[in-house]
Symmetry: C2
Subunit: 207 residues, 2 copies
């Protein structure tokens, strides 16, 4: 498809709507309104409608949005109708914890493999998966239509891992490592930084 011009914030909210819709579906609701969604997500109802109308007219005047229908539409927008495989790089504390926690209740993701550089860890088991050597990355991902790599390695090893992932054709990464990572054009990376969130909370304690 062609390059989207939709803001990151809109996509983040759409992901949030998806989560709300899954719970309302679990509750047996058939329709939701923009103001109900707005209440769940802490934003204005106009914002919800604006977000959704970027991609189409999914609502029905007077009643609202059909839960099942809207969820299908949103999963098409996000691409989670055909979820990418998730691989974890780094079988340390965080990597193993993520794997054990799983991804239940999300957009259909599952962890498909876990890798580590440390030869002592390779071959060990975790949550039903065997930790693979970094040398196996290419082979493993060649079986995936699309995939995302979650990076959770020892501080300082991040760039090395990114380079290996690039060689393997990885175009999408989620890093738990704090270090800034350099990547080629066209490769997307996002960071999860606990310490940044703590900084923001610390700042708000000051007021």
């Amino acid at each position: 498809m062609s390059g989207r011009k939709v803001s990151e914030r809109t996509i983040r909210r759409i992901s949030h709507y998806a989560r709300c819709l899954r719970t309302s579906r679990a509750n047996g609701d058939r329709t939701v309104t923009s103001s109900w969604l707005s209440g769940q997500c802490g934003i204005s109802s106009a914002a919800v409608r604006k977000d959704l109308t970027i991609f189409g007219e999914f609502g029905k005047q007077g009643s609202g949005y059909d839960v099942d229908d809207l969820l299908v539409q949103i999963e098409n927008i996000l691409g989670t109708c055909d979820s990418p495989s998730i691989i974890i790089i780094g079988a340390g504390n965080i990597g193993r914890a993520l794997l054990k926690s799983g991804l239940e209740g999300t957009g259909g993701y599952t962890y498909s493999a876990i890798f580590d550089i440390d030869p002592d860890l390779v071959g060990t088991k975790c949550a039903g998966l065997t930790v693979k050597s970094m040398d196996d990355i290419h082979n493993t991902v060649s079986g995936f239509k699309k995939f995302i790599a979650v990076i959770a390695v020892t501080m300082g090893e991040g760039q090395k891992v990114v380079d290996r992932l690039n060689e393997a054709g990885c175009r999408s990464m989620l890093s738990f490592n704090l270090e800034p990572l350099k990547l080629p054009e066209g490769v997307e990376i996002r960071y999860i930084e606990v310490s940044t969130e703590l900084d923001m909370l610390t700042h708000s304690l000051e007021k």
Copy 2:
């Protein structure tokens, strides 16, 4: 202090500057320029200067910013000159992994205690700390000037924990739980949602 009118985004960037400054200090650099910082953070140099001048004039024309001085100023802004204690609620996979990983290289935070509801886990050791009962929260936090609670409990238990934290006077929380949490006015919460980040990455794979 009085209510700040500074945007969340600015604070997030300031936190990022702090991290950059710590590494340049470690490299022995005495000064940095706004364009160097902007390069590290992937934004424009004007934005860096705008962010900083909200709080004061820390730079010197012609040379830039003194690393040590700016870092002190930023830690004052964030409040990390006197970092809050961090407690973890939930000694499951994520909670224990966070504790074991520690918070080295961040704004001086340390994990001070870990709690769990599960009586089987209470009393067990993790990274030098003994898992405490939720009943001990009040006692423990009464010894802290300020603190932040990191929530990483079983899905569905989040609200219960938040309520206990509120009773204990907690004003600042970081949740790894996906569930939406209700809290009283004046209590700040932030979420770390792996599945949302994955959704955003999945979307960007579509283009």
